[in-house]
Amino acid sequence: MERPDLKSAESSRDIPTNILQDILLRLPTRDVIRSSSVSKLWCSIVRDPSFRKLHAATSDVAEPDVLLVSVNSEPGRRDEARVVNLSSSGNNSKDMRHVGIPDGYSLTGVCNGFLCFAIDYDQAPVFVCNPVTGETLEVPKAPPLSHPKLGGGVTYVSHRFILGFSPMTKQYKVFRLSFPRYGAWQHNTIHIAVYTLGGSGGGWRQYSYPSQFYPMHSTPPPVHIDGDLFVPVERRVPERTARMLVLDVGAETRCLYSLPYNHHEGYDPSWDMLADGFDLKGQMCLAVNVIYPRRKLQFWVMRQRRELRLEENNDDKLYWVLRYSFDLGDDSFTLGVPRGAWLDQAQMLCYRHGNYLYKHGTYSSWFHVGSLLFFDQIVELPETPSPSPSCHLLTRLGSRLANGISWGVTDPACSPLSPLRRHHPKTKRQRNNCLSTPCYVLSDSTKFGVGFLCVLSNRIAS
């Protein structure tokens, strides 16, 4: 689109473009997006990549917007990632966008409000979607494993694709962690492939290191906090053991830490992890379901990394602090994996299960380990999620929506698609098989499958 000449619009107030930009920079993302429909000049300002970058850099973190991302699976329909803004003004959370998920793809993670879609068993491009603008970035498909047999006759591998952001380098990276599929637990190598978005090219890099701890399908999804990826991992032999793999996105260093429930009596190691991770005020928090001897929901917070000694496989050292412990009594909902916890703007600890939202005020300081808490509020949510979601997950990410606007990634190898480009007749056909055309249908009849809660972070710039 050409930038219309300011002078040509005689009736318009002749505000210099730099002032207009200054004013628009101060607006929340939603208002910025709306202003693109004011005039062509405004649209050209708002769509300018340098404006977006500035907006991302200057927007306010004080009022983080929380996005709930859930995947709706209904028979006969294409899966859809549904993004709901839980922080929008008013009491009703609003649908922000629906993104059609191509066949075979799944939502593998969220980071700073971006959604990452990938295929976990095949060579295929990874898609990163910005739900604020609807733009989708296609990351070239990862190469085959440099050691396809994983060093021991295993042909089948699974991948876990994770999107991470490094505040230090201001870069987004897609990690692919590859590990043997079920039945090949004796293998002890984990293969990592990394792609830096907006990097100076170079494409995918691969390396591997010895480890028996893999992110499996039964382990909770990774959580991204301030440049670190917290990836729950497991090994199956000689005995089933879970760990937290902490991956530094910038430096690509890694550490393994023991998990709180390995220490906890009443937690059988043969169970799948009845835990879900989220970002609690910048700290890694695990919501753990304890079944025996009494049903409890515990929130364990990982010590800050600077307090941690980097010792691998040290089961004697507890890296976690029990922050909250709720008595769930005979509540039947405790039987599943805890799904979806976050801290809202009023410092209420929110925990979503089914179509209920449990809330607890965290401002009181009287709590000490050992005393059991009760939820202050239980809110019934208007919609009915599917009763037994295969994976219903919420993660807290913090920030104002503003940041989501920044794509800021200019990678010639990637192909960002602008939602503002002209419609063309192909659109409908593409919608059936391609993620790059997001679905904007707003519907209330959807059901919750996989859910992620993400927050748009401030440091998203580029």
Partner: protein, 186 residues
């Protein structure tokens, strides 16, 4: 013999007095004169600071042809009010730490200062602040305008900004559909 002290010396005295004057006179596009604290003008406006330092200040009124009298009155008013609220050392140090924040929040008096302005006066003031390189005033006025825009529909914004809608109906509908979530309430 005071009287005979000599013309040259008297001239010298007058010049010193001038240099010590603590105000400068500014002239608006429509010829009105305004007095403003020299210290505040130099501190708040990079353009005026340059003129004062460069000696291009005219005692009979420095011409500011781009600025109308109403806007200039507001500029001068702002400078003089600011001069009265010279920040203490503590405030200065806290404002330094604020510099890491993207935008400084306006102070209470600054808020009140822009709140009383009409739309036209506010927009004129923004442009005057821009012209004079008054970063702080630009901050305060832009903040005010952005506050006015929040939650407004594109139609309302066009009205406030007096902007002509140069989209066709079809183009507009297309944008609204693409970015439906942002137009939820309209």
């Amino acid at each position: 013999m005071e009287v005979d002290k000599g013309k040259g010396e008297a001239e010298e005295t007058r010049k010193v007095a001038e240099a010590d004057r603590d105000t400068v006179t500014l002239k608006s596009s429509d010829g009105k004169l305004f007095e403003v604290s020299k210290e505040a003008a130099a501190r708040l406006s990079t353009v005026l600071a340059g003129m004062i330092a460069g000696g291009s200040i005219d005692d009979n009124g420095t011409d500011l042809k781009q600025i109308g009298s109403e806007a200039l009155e507001n500029v001068v008013d702002y400078c003089n009010k600011h001069a009265n609220s010279i920040p203490s050392a503590a405030l200065i140090s806290s404002s330094i730490s604020f510099n890491t924040a993207p935008f400084k929040e306006p102070e209470e008096w600054e808020r009140k200062f822009v709140d009383r302005l009409s739309h036209d006066a506010l927009f004129d003031l923004v442009e005057a602040a821009n012209f004079l390189g008054m970063e702080r005033l630009l901050d305060v006025t832009c903040h005010k305008i952005s506050e006015m825009m929040k939650g407004k529909s594109p139609d309302q914004i066009r009205e406030v900004f007096n902007i002509k809608n140069d989209y066709t109906k079809e183009e507009l509908e297309e944008i609204r559909q693409e970015l439906a979530w942002a137009f939820y309430d309209d």
